[in-house]
Symmetry: C3
Subunit: 325 residues, 3 copies
């Protein structure tokens, strides 16, 4: 691809492709993951009530992708534990983030500049994880694009996809939402990566692997940094998503009845049924102080909300810690 | 078996045994499964909020049995995805049922005659799925009847057995009920099939495979059609079940205390304890507008109720759609 | 190790090591497990509503460890079913405990002396299960201590670790607590056993296997008997635990704000945030009549409470049954 040669990016992409994730990038990944866990509501209480549940939860945040893809491929789910060095590293970081005297480690790492660097490095590991998953699936199911995408996605965004069960370890249970109902930005970008690397692997995408790695990594890092700096939660795909959504998934609207245009008893009937049930559901969920998953908003909105929530939690924490210095 | 020869059913059973499920019977299975999903409360809302969660849910309805039996046998849970043709077929049907303009596909398929044919064809696939599961288990665990029954059951009724987790994908969580607590008719008929085919496989049942296939298929299809036409939900096994239940499982009734005959402090004590807890439970669950699983009714009743519920939902939909033509 | 020779314990330990668990010790294990299930709130109702759910639940109590470790090692989860004799034995015991006329079996086995013997024998099986898990993991992951501990623990305390899902089978769902959040005594002693046997397996512990088996078995049996006789729930590790807890896991207390010593805005902020959320959580959970897992007590207390609860249930039952004789 001469564009790369023109821009002298070939050797750069080669250099990136030969980059080793261990130990620095892995450490950044563990750091950001454990900090994300710590910023979950109630996580600090759990870390006091039951350190072992907190540790297990952290390991799911750090190695969730490996566990999930292992289960999907019928490989031992304990395999990640067999890599003692990584587990030890993650455990040390878990301990420092949760139990360090004066909370120095967390407060330092939560400073925006440092957090920015760590998050950037974590995004780099995403490329390697997705690619690893895709390659592994390709070696088992040669021709199946779907399996490659599924495994790549699971490997890269496992922590998010199993979040319901990770929360269960901490005694939290939020069935009304999951990453499939309200995809967060990381899950979304990982899915796109899995698709791209699968297409490259099956040669549908006329790109060399290291070039794609460079492009994807740059995109994720830049985009993540932008979102952290501007604090904006506008997904770069929002426009495309809503376009696709409007085109494909609004063939038959069960809400036509609400907007008055009753043109079809079948639809009408269905609409009234479903919407009442929705109302009930929403009432329930509002009682629990949760946003019901049944509110008829396009996924984009839901995702950006959850994303904003995350960012805010992050910012408040950062702010609160800044004061200490 | 000369009865078959007398009735000239031998070649018929051979013909059935050589019947290929792909593509027509599989399509019918996908169609009926996706329609069943669509008729779940709140499913339409999910299809609008998150098409991907809806798609994943549909795949669990269509391939749940394969996934469950794969997990039980420690085979890759993603294997069903590797059969691209089936997944593509199921996905197209999912799209048409949920998002077809004017909702034509669903309303057409929901017409009683067509629905009757589709359901009948789906019942035929059940025989093949159960038999496939039993054979697979037999090849792995030669002599173990229990494993063969378990796998055959899982393969044939997987969608129902994992329903709690399928619902979780859609953000619905109903822990107070599952297919083991309140067996639905399909789960029950599949269990019986699994037992029969396992006995045939281990030669405890003096029948040839293709004869059994014919008998089981005819029974399931006829019975399903009867239930759909009469709209009755009386299980054909209700009598046998309640007889077995009365004989085996009422040795010691913790409810004797309620009926006044206090003949044993042990029982009495147990009864009061449990029934109070039951009362609480029932209050809770009634608040959630759900029938608590702790109400002391025999399983038969519970099952027929749930079955009726299903039928009704089906009928209302059908009715509502009939108007459109 | 001459201490053993001096005390002439060598042949005793050899004798113990060659002891066969089948059938008597296994039967005791099944008996105690099924009785523990029966003493769960609502279990009797389930046994009336759906014998099959009750049976499946009992099998999870009896073979949960084997199932969990099989899943973790990507081995067939149905494997335990393939051992027909054990399953048959467990099923017969399940039937007798739940459905025996006049409830003779349960009331007899619940008599303190008999229950004491059965519980002692069950504790013996624990040694074998933990050792089996550790050995199996060692054969697969030679050098990985963590995997050996995990599998040994899962094999020995599986029933407890999967309790959330075992309860789900019975229609009960208590996300706010699990064995990791509030470790019960059996789970704890099994974890210690798994650690010891793993260290022995990897020769970090200078002890012969049969000597360790003797020591561990004697300790578990004696300790269990003590707890049943005295009805006391003071874990023998309470002191060590709270010492370790105080040393390691109280580096940064989010509750300092409550005790007035506000020395750090970061901590202060975090504390107020988390504690309010805790308050909410506790209110919720108290409404459900459950102890919220978010109450900031050290795990030791939580565990001893749950333990006391268990013991009491056991005692009341025993008492209630004594009257009958």
């Amino acid at each position: 691809m001469d564009l790369f040669e023109v821009l002298h990016l070939d050797e750069l992409s080669h250099g990136l492709a030969n980059l080793s994730m261990f130990p620095y990038f892995d450490m950044a990944h563990y750091m950001v993951s454990v900090m994300a866990l710590r910023e979950q509501p109630g996580a600090l209480d759990v870390s006091r009530v039951s350190p072992i549940a907190c540790w297990f939860s952290s390991m799911l945040f750090c190695f969730g992708g490996a566990v999930l893809s292992a289960i999907m491929l019928a490989e031992p789910a304990v395999a990640p534990l067999s890599n003692s060095t990584s587990v030890l590293l993650a455990s040390v970081i878990w301990y420092l983030v949760f139990y360090c005297p004066m909370d120095l480690v967390y407060c330092t790492a939560a400073l925006l500049p440092l957090r920015l660097v760590l998050s950037g490095m974590k995004e780099v590991t995403r490329t390697w994880k997705v690619l690893g998953g895709v390659t592994q699936a390709h070696s088992k199911y040669n021709d199946s694009l779907l399996v490659m995408i599924a495994i790549g996605w699971a490997r890269g965004a496992g922590g998010g996809l199993i979040s319901n069960f990770e929360q269960l370890v901490r005694g939290v249970w939020k069935p009304e939402t999951n990453e499939l109902l309200k995809m967060s930005y990381p899950t979304k970008i990982t899915l796109i990566g899995a698709v791209l690397f699968s297409l490259q692997q099956t040669h549908y995408l006329p790109l060399q692997k290291h070039h794609l790695m460079l492009l994807y990594t740059v995109f994720t890092v830049v985009n993540k940094s932008r979102m952290m700096l501007t604090g904006s939660s506008t997904s770069p795909f929002a426009v495309i998503e809503s376009a696709v959504y409007k085109t494909l998934f609004t063939g038959y609207s069960p809400y036509s009845a609400l907007t008055g245009e009753v043109n079809n008893p079948c639809i009408d009937n269905g609409a009234t049924n479903t919407t009442t049930s929705t109302a009930d559901k929403r009432r329930e969920s509002s009682e629990n102080g949760e946003a019901g998953q049944h509110s008829p908003v396009p996924p984009v909105k839901g995702q950006s909300e959850s994303l904003k929530a995350k960012d805010e939690s992050g910012n408040t924490e950062t702010a609160s810690c800044k004061k200490t210095d």
